[in-house]
């Protein structure tokens, strides 16, 4: 063991000696969900600078989870044990966030996820786990009601069975859709698939009035493109997993109307949003997607909690402060005093037309 330490002591032993407040960030910077990670990180950086201007500094340690839950698991352990972070922000895909929260729970470190919407997360993650976005119970209802209001009653849900986000959201859509008199059939695929010909055919055979997508944009976008006119212009409704600037590119030309629910739309009429959108576009050269807005807000929420907390390095105290948050950010009001530390927020419906365009607001469940 001594020899080992000598040899490998060349590798810097982080976290030894200094004990200032450190924030761990885990995001999918590469891999399937890369755009989510990049946008979130951009939002975080903008927030970091804004906070610096107010005199608040944070030491952010970013780890890439490569859109793989197993990597997220390992990186969480690395952040907690090697880097000694006191709180973790991340990740985006619920499959990864679940593992992050479980590891952090055993280590007693608070976690705030900016964008993971699966219902069971904060429950499984324990009292130190929270999120600043709405959850899928709400999102499912938003999507189902949107379809029902448009008069679409016969639907098919296309579900990614390898992702807990997808199956959870689909279940929530089904509950509300069927309660509202709709019928929902389900088709499955797996993330990483490329050949969707048969799924597409199965969906077409059902002759639906609306197609729900509860998965992520890399497969959804490609599937829509591969479908061509097999689906004869049936409207497509996706969840926030679709919110990515890559989606319109992947989809290509299509006659179908594509809608998705999300946390934030850069061209929404709210002045706070407009201001943020302008500054983001100036710095990063493109309008912000939902992930950017959430990335910005999560750091602001953390800053707000740290301000209220006497000793942020004490995980229990920090956790309590986070759970008492009531903060209005650019993605809306984040009130984490709810029993499952999940805020009730408005959703926006976005349509895909050339790019992502704001369609309407769906107010939070009361």
């Amino acid at each position: 063991m001594k020899l080992g330490s000598l040899l490998f002591g060349l590798v810097p032993l982080a976290g030894c000696g200094e004990d200032h407040f450190k924030v761990g960030i885990i995001l999918p910077m590469t891999g399937n969900n890369a755009t989510f990670g990049e946008e979130s990180w951009n939002g975080l950086q903008l927030a970091l600078d804004d906070l610096k201007a107010q005199g608040v500094e944070f030491d952010l340690k970013l780890k890439d989870e490569k859109s793989d839950p197993q990597t997220a698991n390992v990186q969480t352990k690395t952040l907690i044990e090697n880097e000694g972070v006191h709180v973790i922000l991340g990740s985006v895909a619920s499959s990864s966030t679940l593992l992050i929260m479980l590891v952090a729970k055993e280590a007693g470190i608070p976690v705030i996820t900016p964008a993971s919407t699966n219902d069971t997360l904060t429950e499984k993650g324990g009292p130190l786990a929270s999120r600043i976005c709405f959850n899928d119970t709400f999102q499912g209802a938003v999507l189902a009601n949107f379809a029902l209001n448009e008069g679409w009653k016969r639907g098919v849900a296309v579900v990614d069975q390898a992702q807990v986000y997808s199956t959870g959201l689909a279940e929530n859509i089904r509950k509300v859709f069927e309660a509202g008199g709709g019928t929902l059939a389900v088709e499955y695929y797996s993330s990483g698939d490329t050949d969707f010909a048969n799924t597409i055919q199965n969906v077409a055979n059902q002759r639906p009035q609306v197609i729900f997508f509860s998965g992520y944009y890399p497969e959804g976008g490609v599937m829509i493109r591969q479908a061509g006119d097999k689906w004869k212009g049936v409207p497509l409704v996706g969840g926030d997993g679709f919110d990515s600037p890559e989606l319109p590119k992947l989809v290509g030309d299509t006659n179908a109307a594509i809608f998705l629910s999300s946390h934030f739309a850069a061209d929404a009429p709210d002045p706070m949003v407009q201001d943020f959108a302008k500054r983001y576009e100036k710095r990063f050269g493109a309008p912000p997607g939902a992930m950017a807005g959430l990335g910005y807000d999560v750091l602001m929420v953390l800053a707000d909690a740290v301000k209220r907390c006497k000793d942020p390095k004490d995980p229990e105290a920090l956790g309590k402060a986070i759970a008492a948050t009531k903060y209005k950010g650019i993605t809306g009001l984040m009130d984490l005093t709810t029993p499952d530390r999940t805020p009730m927020k408005d959703a926006v419906i976005v349509r895909v037309e050339g790019g992502l365009k704001f369609h309407c607001v769906v107010p939070a469940a009361k």
Binding site: C16, Q70, S95, L99, G108, Q161, A162, Q163
Partner: protein
């Protein structure tokens, strides 16, 4: 420093588990000469078997559930070994490799597609902590406990394999591996030897799976992918395909390198994925016998002493 200790404990547990996997693969590949690329399937079977058993545990006491889940894991994995070993007996070399690879992938796909309420399917499943409660304060104790259990398991496995290889059935296996037809002429039943090797190897891999599941607290079918298989292969090639001590040394080298690189900045760490197959390729081209060849540490020690005496 507490987190440094945690890191090394984690590393050593990893070394232990991979030693078990390497030793069991060694039995099938090195000693029995069967080219097997599906070991990750047995590992997965063991992990999921142990998980299922643990979930049935209910109100039984912790250690009882723990031990019975490990036994169940070994049984399930052994069954897997039986079911793939028997049909593939007639296959040689490349064909056996591909068939076993297919088996490993089928296991993974099967778990990934299984209904979410059965074994978690693609979402993974949590393994309840039955030995002790794991909290920030008890984390070190938990790792030390697991490490002791894993160490005992490794020692038991290595001793068992070593004694087996020295016994009559073991010698029969080595004979079959050398030349199956000749062995047959000597009255040895090659089928029985090979199947036995497969079953023993898969059972130990299953044990590793059970220990892994309990240690990680949660498993996911993606944990048992083909890259892991290649990693285990690297370990036995590095250590020497007939050497048990080689497995332990190889496991330490590979796991330690991987974990330490993980602490390095991203730019360096990401080269590991290119590096380790490169190392394996170089080893197999220039030094296929690995570090120890077919010898054990004792032999190396003795010959070194003789030279310097």
């Amino acid at each position: 420093m507490s987190s440094e200790l945690l890191f090394w404990l984690n590393l050593l547990v990893g070394v232990g588990i991979y030693t078990l996997l390497a030793a069991s693969l060694n039995l099938i590949n090195g000693s029995a000469g069967m080219f097997h690329l599906g070991h990750h399937g047995f590992w997965a079977l063991g992990a999921y078997g142990a998980t299922w058993m643990t979930l049935q545990g209910g109100s039984l006491s912790g250690p009882v559930v723990y031990v019975s889940s490990l036994i169940f894991a070994m049984a399930i994995a052994a069954l897997g070994g039986l079911s793939i070993g028997i049909p593939c007996l007639r296959l040689r070399g490349d064909y056996l490799a591909i068939a076993t690879l297919g088996f490993g992938e089928i296991v993974r796909i099967a778990v990934q597609n299984s209904p979410h309420d059965f074994l978690g399917g693609s979402l993974g499943i949590q393994v309840p902590r039955v030995l002790m409660k794991v909290t920030p304060k008890t984390l070190v104790a938990f790792r030390v406990l697991t490490l002791s259990i894993v160490a005992v398991a490794c020692a038991a496995a290595i001793v068992t394999f070593r004694n087996y290889l020295r016994s009559m059935p073991g010698r029969r296996l080595l004979a079959v591996a050398q030349d199956e037809t000749a062995a047959g002429l000597l009255g040895i039943n090659p089928t029985r030897s090979k199947v036995l090797a497969f079953v023993m190897g898969s059972a130990v891999a299953g044990l590793a799976g059970g220990l892994y599941a309990h240690y990680m607290g949660g498993i996911n079918p993606l944990n048992f992918n083909f890259m892991e298989m290649v990693k285990i292969f690297l370990i036995i090639v590095l250590g020497g395909m007939g050497s048990l001590s080689g497995c332990a040394v190889g496991a330490f080298l590979v796991v330690a390198t991987e974990q330490l690189l993980n602490r390095a900045p991203e730019a360096i760490a990401s080269w590991w994925q290119v590096l380790f197959p490169l190392i394996l390729a170089i080893m197999i081209i220039f030094r296929p016998q690995g570090i120890f060849g077919r010898r054990e540490i004792r032999d190396v020690w003795r010959s070194w002493r003789r030279r310097t005496a």
